[in-house]
Subunit: 418 residues, 2 copies
């Protein structure tokens, strides 16, 4: 739990440094708010839907943090734009639990509402890139594509104008492999020639600049492709990172994307993506009737932690935030009340301090502090009470000292390097 907390606080720190502010929305939404936003599978298989047990309305637990944000914006029309928000909270999906997939899991979302420009998408990519870097996760690539490019290419090559079902099939590539995607496309009624073409199309993977050149050379007359390619090019020039890779097989499964789409992967780790997002310029309009462009990214907390542990950059070693444990050598009133005074002083000085609540012998108290790997132990007995001192024991260095009580806070801070 402490590891999760440490990671969340790190992510939150980066979000704030990039000028994003927190919001919070309810976990339960009216089903009608979420309906028609994600796609058929999400809505009818993965969403936790239920009727109000004492009423008549239909509810659902939020499926992501994006649609609730859109609903929030619709209800707060006076929000100054662009609105840069982050939201770290659980979402629910009714999947069979498996490695890296849980029914209730935390998403860490950043979004920018109100800007149609590549600057906003670039800002999103820069902030999540910094998050991964500061968590120590090396080898992160941000895959990018654009729904307009996909649409244009599918139009040109296959005359498909409603490609959402095709996207959802392609989106499973990671999980079910090329043959699986072939089967899914076949199930949609596509012939082998079309399927071959799709498999060929989605194999394009290249640095953004190169991909943009190839795409405009080939589909320069299709305005969707040109718009998407130009947008990606501008994002790339602001982000200026070699870790940005164009990947035509990146489609994202959800219906609401309209422009650039992103996904973060770690090279050499087989856990699927550790985050993803994209631009959804039409979603908020569904609620407000007013076109309100938006773009965002969602970092999967549990995935990131698994990857961090696998790479050895995150460790499960911290068992407590507590840094000082006060051992009472006996249970006399004098020792107890003197100890409580010292404990109060340390806590007031901001030092996380604990003590025995089980009336255990001092050896057992020491044992408890050891189990929790608390770095500093303070001993208080009759001698310390009489001399108005405290005996400190710094576990790592083995340093032991008897300190006057007026100097305890300074001494403890020095030992803890605070």
């Amino acid at each position: 739990m402490i590891l999760r907390k440490v990671v969340i606080e790190k992510i939150e720190g980066v979000f704030r440094r990039y000028g994003f502010d927190p919001i919070d929305t309810p976990s339960i939404e009216l089903f009608e708010v979420l309906a028609g936003k994600y796609g058929e599978e999400a809505e009818n298989k993965l969403m936790w839907r239920f009727r109000d047990p004492w009423g008549d309305r239909e509810y659902a637990l939020r499926y992501d943090l994006t649609v609730p944000l859109a609903r929030y914006i619709a209800m707060h029309r006076d929000t100054p734009m662009p609105f840069k928000r982050y939201h770290i909270a659980p979402v629910w999906r009714h999947e069979e639990p498996q490695r890296g997939r849980y029914r209730e899991f935390y998403q860490c979302d950043v979004d920018i509402v109100g800007s149609p420009y590549p600057e906003a998408d670039a800002e999103i990519i820069m902030v999540v890139d910094t998050v991964y870097k500061e968590l120590g996760i090396k080898g992160v690539k941000i895959l990018v594509n654009d729904r307009r490019i996909l649409r244009g290419v599918f139009e040109e090559e296959l005359r498909i104008e409603e490609p959402l079902r095709v996207y959802r099939a392609i989106d499973k590539l990671d999980k079910i492999g090329v043959d699986g995607v072939r089967r899914e496309l076949g199930a949609l009624g596509m012939g082998e020639e079309a399927i071959n073409k799709i498999i060929d199309i989605i194999s394009l993977k290249a640095p953004v600049d190169q991909a943009v050149r190839e795409l405009t050379a080939r589909y320069g007359s299709n305005k969707h492709v040109v718009e998407g390619a130009r947008h990606l090019e501008e994002i790339s020039s602001i982000v200026g990172s070699k870790d940005l890779v164009f990947d035509m097989s990146l489609v994202r499964g959800l219906d609401y994307y309209t422009g650039p789409i992103f996904e973060a992967i770690v090279e050499g780790i087989r856990i699927g993506s550790i985050g993803g997002g994209g631009r959804y310029d039409s979603l908020i309009e569904l609620f407000t009737g007013i076109r309100t462009p938006a773009t965002g990214f969602s970092i999967g907390l549990d995935r990131v932690i698994e990857v961090g542990l696998e790479l050895g950059v995150l460790k499960r070693d911290k068992k407590t935030y507590t840094e000082v444990y006060v051992v009472m050598l006996d249970r006399s009133n004098e020792v107890s009340s003197y100890s409580l005074e010292i404990i109060r002083t340390l806590r007031s000085a901001g030092i996380p301090t604990s003590w025995d609540l089980l009336r255990r012998a001092h050896q057992k108290q020491r044992e408890h502090a050891r189990k929790l790997s608390i770095p500093l132990v303070l001993y208080i007995g009759k001698q310390e009470v009489e001399r108005k001192t405290v005996t400190t024991y710094h576990v790592e260095s083995g340093e032991r000292a008897e300190i006057g009580r007026e100097n305890v806070v300074d001494h403890v801070k020095r030992l803890l390097k605070r």
Copy 2:
């Protein structure tokens, strides 16, 4: 939202200083886990229950954070004891929304599992008392009683041995007044004489020491009263606070309490309690079969914020965490890329920094920073690019300066007093 965040982070800081560590449990529990723990009304009227929409099991959204903690302990038998945990998260109750009451609301819980001693209850009271103090909420009283005292007194005076229904009636005193409680007791089939006696009994309110003396003088032969009174006396002697008040009308509505019970109120504010808790020594046993004493307290976040606003100690003034806004005076490549470099530098130095994502004229950019009350504005134009400088404008002091880019971080930190 920022105010909520600030308050949560303050509360969390105090919890950690007192040696409590975070845990997190899922929002959804199997209904059978929550069933039979809270009482009839909670279970059948207030709990969000629903069937698995794709399966057969019955679920519920957690009603509090205490029963999920008990379930957690049952599943993690190797947890070192005492286990001091905090949990700040939403819970759900199906009440009609009204002032100070929401369907989804945050509780901030601290609990100690594994200690039957008054030391643990005292530790709980000390930590929540510090929370209220550090939030600046003055006039907080911690009301205390003990379920054993209640049981003993009801036995002695009225021969009632199953008083849970009576407690739930008394628990509504704040909401429905004395006459309301009379009616509820009448509805339970009690006669007027018994009702009068109960109303008389629950009027005892006194400093803990005095109440203990009175109770032991009158009911000294009842072992429940004596046990409860002695426990409260010991808590009081450790806490040593004048803000601890014995109140016989404090009963707490939930079934699972077994010993001391607590409730925090603010004198002179009519919003009901701002937190409550108590000892529940039998709850974990329901899951494990092994007696595992525990005690805890739950701070109602929304209530605390309302009270803080009403008292004027909390303010809604902060609109963003962002401290620096970079205004680009034109959109040339030189100005943009130089600005992005400065922005990157500031963010790397830990300074929350934002910039325009809407390609607005510089006046509009400045206007946006003003709307969000961002304290420091940096101007970058051709001149700054050429001279390798930045022009800073500190809103509050009106101080304006042109600073070499190598000194920007230091200068900004000085202006922001970091």
